[in-house]
């Protein structure tokens, strides 16, 4: 029993500290304050507060889950959740105290005492294990001095600078306001509020674990939907605005924020719907699968038709602003599908994909521009140049692929990254300025003209992107099932074996690079036509990383995964401006987390998930 308790305690403390660190981190990088700007429900809760509550809630739920698995009773589970919530709040509370004028001495005290505490923490087990006394004291001193250098330096910095804010720019008033729930002046009240909210959220998490599955799911759907609609209030408003009249809109939204009553309605409706789905969803699904094949084909066909209809009607359904976002997403879908040929199908990690994008954009810009740099006086139109851009990008892909054909894996990745950087530097240099405009770039790119009408709005450009994406999708599906596709697969698995099997690896790899470059070129050309100007700053390594992230997150070698990845990773920062500052922070974190926990992506391709399972099995087998 005692052992059980100490184990539970460890779970509670670890999870509490983890979520506490998360809250502290998001606060310190400015996420909480930035998200607070976005209200989910008018005057009720902001996205920052959601973040603040969601961490202890999730940690409380996980702790309850694990304590429950250990066989603890309900009271222990609830207590665990509560404790997790409390612990979550502590790091933030400590930082609040450090930050306040009255309790600054705590910071100084901590910085002075910390080296000795840490040294003792490490030296104590050595002493207990009966190590040589001289060794123990030596280690203790060494650790104390090392930590001491750091804490002394911090103490000096804070003493000279005066406050935390002059170093950690985001530990500012906005942050204090959010975490103390607008109790900046009465810090103790604020701290108490934070502790209570956090503990309540942790408790709610553990309650969530105890209640039966069906109501739990219903609540999850309910709150999830409300939260999503609230957070993306601006987007939802833009969509509804196209279809609803002004007065209804005003009742639902105050500017971009959901009002309280509609939010409550939405919560109730979605909870009820969630309840029904949780209760009868399984039956519906079994009903569908047990249908006869002809019937199922009809259902599938209707589904496809509806989906295609939505795709075709999208610009009318969502309006101009969102169509613009849709075009951006489409450009990245294109690039994602293209890069996937290299990464997903042939296993060539190309980090210089931006090269092709830049080539396409610049070709279109220079050939069609009616500004000073377009010397062709607009003889060429968008439609004539698109194939040129495609061929030019293919050529660039070919040229850059030849030297790297003999490289493998990580060297190839770094070399292509080098190419991307070279292109970026060349684009901005004085050398090529007469041709492509240096830092000013190329301006005055005309919009495409279709049957005499200028496609100047995103609603119209959307169709170009859609068509290009569909063509790419078709090509990549066909490629995947072709002889070449199987050759790529063989190369991806083992290049030496593939070669031994008689595959012309050089040819297959070149083909992969060239084809993948082609879509990049088209994407670049469409981008140039959409924006109307081309700057070298649009073509940085970040584009390559963006595309890589959406492939990895969506699912490597999985076409639906890539589309969904693009919608989420590109769409979200565009729709939620608060996210855009933290875009690469989240991409980075996502890449790491995906690689550790789910290397096959969220919507994996069948083959890859099969391979991952096989690899895990092999690993387990060798471990035994």
């Amino acid at each position: 029993m005692n052992m059980l308790r100490s184990r539970n305690l460890r779970i509670v403390v670890t999870l509490g500290l983890l979520s506490g660190a998360f809250i502290l981190y998001t606060g310190a990088v400015g996420m909480i304050a930035a998200f607070h700007e976005r209200e989910v429900v008018k005057d009720v809760i902001s996205l920052g507060q959601v973040l603040l509550a969601l961490a202890p809630f999730a940690a409380g739920f996980m702790a309850a889950n694990r304590i429950g698995d250990e066989g603890a009773g309900q009271a222990a589970i609830l207590a665990g959740g509560f404790a997790v919530g409390l612990i979550t709040a502590t790091p933030t509370i400590v930082l609040l105290l450090f930050n306040s004028a009255e309790y600054r001495f705590l910071l100084e005290l901590t910085l002075r005492v910390l080296p000795f505490l840490v040294a003792t923490y490490f030296a104590w087990p050595m002493y207990r294990n009966g190590k040589d006394m001289q060794f123990v004291i030596g280690s203790w001193l060494a650790i104390a001095v090392l930590i001491g250098i750091v804490t002394f330096s911090f103490a000096l910095i804070f003493e000279i600078k005066g406050d935390l804010r002059s170093v950690l720019v985001n530990i500012n008033r906005d942050w204090v306001d959010v975490v103390t729930f607008d109790n900046r002046r009465e810090l103790m009240t604020g701290i108490l509020t934070l502790a209570i909210v956090s503990a309540a959220a942790g408790l709610a998490g553990s309650v969530f674990r105890i209640i039966p599955t069906i109501p739990r799911r219903a609540l999850l759907y309910g709150f999830g939907v409300t939260l999503l609609v609230g957070a993306f209030g601006e987007t939802v408003r833009l969509i509804l605005q196209e279809n609803l009249d002004r007065d209804t809109m005003r009742e639902l939204f105050q500017r971009d924020t959901l009002r309280q009553q509609p939010a409550l309605m939405l919560l109730i409706i979605s909870t009820v719907a969630g309840f029904l789905w949780a209760k009868f969803g399984q039956q519906v699904r079994t009903g569908l699968t047990s249908m006869e094949s002809s019937q199922r084909r009809v259902v599938n066909g209707v589904g496809m038709l509806v989906f295609a209809g939505i795709l075709l009607m999208l610009p009318w359904l969502i309006g101009r602003t969102l169509s613009d976002v849709a075009v951006t997403i489409g450009i990245f879908v294109l690039m994602g599908l293209g890069l996937n040929i290299a990464i997903g199908l042939a296993g060539l990690l190309d980090l210089g994909y931006v090269t092709n994008y830049a080539v396409g954009a610049y070709i279109l810009a220079v050939l069609t521009s009616i500004g000073p740099l377009g010397r062709l006086d607009g003889v060429f139109t968008f439609w004539m140049v698109i194939p040129v851009a495609l061929l030019a990008a293919m050529f660039a892909g070919f040229v850059f692929a030849v030297p790297v054909l003999r490289m493998r894996g990580d060297y190839l990745a770094i070399a292509t990254l080098g190419f991307g950087e070279i292109i970026g530097k060349l684009a901005i240099s004085d050398w090529l300025k007469p041709l492509i405009g240096g830092a000013q770039g190329v301006q005055a790119i005309p919009k495409p003209i279709f049957l005499g009408a200028e496609l100047k709005n995103p609603e119209q450009l959307y169709y170009i992107v859609l068509a290009a994406s569909l063509v790419t999708l078709f090509v990549s599906i066909r490629l995947n099932n072709s002889r070449t596709g199987r050759q790529w697969m063989a190369i991806r698995e083992d290049e030496d074996v593939a070669k031994a099997m008689g595959i012309d690896t050089a040819r297959a790899k070149l083909l992969a690079f060239t084809l993948s470059a082609a879509t990049g070129g088209v994407a670049g050309a469409i981008f140039a036509a959409k924006v109307g100007t081309v700057f070298p700053n649009s073509f940085t390594v970040f584009i390559s990383i963006n595309v890589l992230s959406l492939i990895i997150v969506g699912g490597i070698a999985s076409n639906p995964g890539i589309v969904v990845g693009a919608v989420v990773l590109i769409g979200m920062p565009e729709l939620l401006r608060e996210f855009s500052d933290f875009r690469f922070l989240m991409y980075g974190a996502l890449l790491v987390m995906m690689m550790i926990n789910r290397p096959q992506g969220f919507i994996p391709s069948k083959l890859v998930s099969h391979e991952v399972r096989a690899a895990v099995k092999a690993k387990v087998a060798t471990a035994d």
């Binding site: 910095i157 003493e159 030297p403 070399a415």
Partner: protein, 354 residues
């Protein structure tokens, strides 16, 4: 890689050979044009060379981190540039504080030592955390998996520090003792360049001593030879790997301070990315996994980067040649990877690592 390929000669080899000839031709023509025009005097060449050496010694310090980690784990720690940034960016506040108290100019040696220790420890903690959280769970997975993780970690760290310290540039304060020039027979070399070179050399010697003469170093070498056997010999592999990351991080952090004192344009969250790739180039140049190689490769790259634009690019009539410094470095990277992936000194154990 460098053998005469008569048995398996394809058009790829042919293209690569043509590329090789073209590059040699370009370099020779450019150099000939510049030298025959005499636009740049001997003293200027020496100055460029000295500046290149100082910059190169900073690359070398960072490159050691790549090489140490590669030597042991066979992975490219792509986020190492960000480890460098972490130390440099954090220490700018300490440097300001030390400057405000006047300590920096009264006791420059002690102050700089404190800064180096602080930056080193900050970078070390970042490197160790990185290893513990991001890389350890992935040991033994296919090689591209840790690379993608490292790319993710790199951007994560960049934007974390952007969030923590803000996105603006912050400059290290000037140190009086490092201003001024040394005159040697008509050639004047800034003191700060001498300082950078000497400080880096000292740190590298310390590392060399650590790896070659201490028990930990022996353990590191053992783990890099063969992990399983090292484990059987009673070496705590996890600890050694962590230690290696820590040492690499420390060197990168100290390079950050040295870089901050050397280059006046200041530090920001993105400062680590380009030097990171360049330092990787240096590591590959010297033969990745090879410690003296990384030092040499760094110096070599620094010198090429300083001299190359003026010698070759200007000679070929390319305007604004100094803007293309980075292009030279990245071209070097690609060329080394194409023509001599085992580096100048050759990669240790290149058989198993290729």
């Amino acid at each position: 890689m460098f053998k005469w390929r008569s048995d398996d000669f394809s058009w790829v080899d042919f293209t690569i050979d043509v590329l090789r000839v073209l590059i040699v031709l370009g370099v020779v023509v450019g150099a000939w044009n510049t030298l025959s025009s005499g636009r740049i005097s001997f003293a200027q060449w020496v100055n460029l060379f000295a500046a290149g050496l100082s910059q190169g010694s900073i690359y070398a310090l960072i490159a050691l981190g790549y090489t140490l980690v590669y030597g042991i784990l066979l992975m490219i720690n792509f986020a190492h540039g960000e480890v460098f940034m972490a130390g440099a960016f954090s220490t700018v506040f300490l440097a300001e504080a030390l400057n405000r108290t006047g300590f920096l100019n009264e006791q420059p040696v002690l102050a700089i030592l404190l800064m180096i220790a602080f930056a080193g420890l900050v970078s070390m903690s970042v490197a160790i955390l990185l290893e513990r959280i991001a890389y350890r769970p992935l040991r033994g997975s296919p090689r591209l998996v840790p690379l993608i993780t490292a790319i993710g970690a790199s951007f994560f760290l960049q934007y974390t520090f952007r969030g923590l310290y803000g996105s603006g540039f912050k400059a290290y304060p000037g140190v009086k003792a490092l201003q001024g020039v040394i005159q040697i027979g008509g050639i004047s070399i800034p003191v700060v360049q001498v300082f950078v070179f000497c400080a880096a050399l000292l740190l590298m010697l310390c590392l060399y001593w650590l790896v070659e003469r201490t028990r930990v170093g022996k353990a590191m070498r053992a783990v890099s030879e063969n992990k399983e056997v090292a484990r059987l010999m009673g070496i705590d592999i996890d600890w050694v790997i962590m230690f290696t990351f820590g040492v690499g991080g420390f060197l990168a952090g100290s390079a950050g301070v040295i870089n901050g004192l050397f280059r006046p344009q200041g530090v920001n969250f993105y400062m680590g990315f380009i030097p990171g790739i360049k330092a990787f180039t240096a590591a590959v140049l010297g033969g990745i996994g090879n410690i003296p190689g990384a030092m040499l490769g760094g110096l070599f790259l620094g010198v090429i980067e300083a001299i190359g634009p003026n010698l070759v690019l200007a000679g070929l009539g390319i305007p604004g040649a100094n803007q293309l410094k980075d292009v030279i470095a990245f071209t070097m990277l690609v060329l080394v990877l194409i023509f001599r992936p085992q580096g100048i000194l050759g990669e240790r154990l290149s058989e198993t690592k290729a």
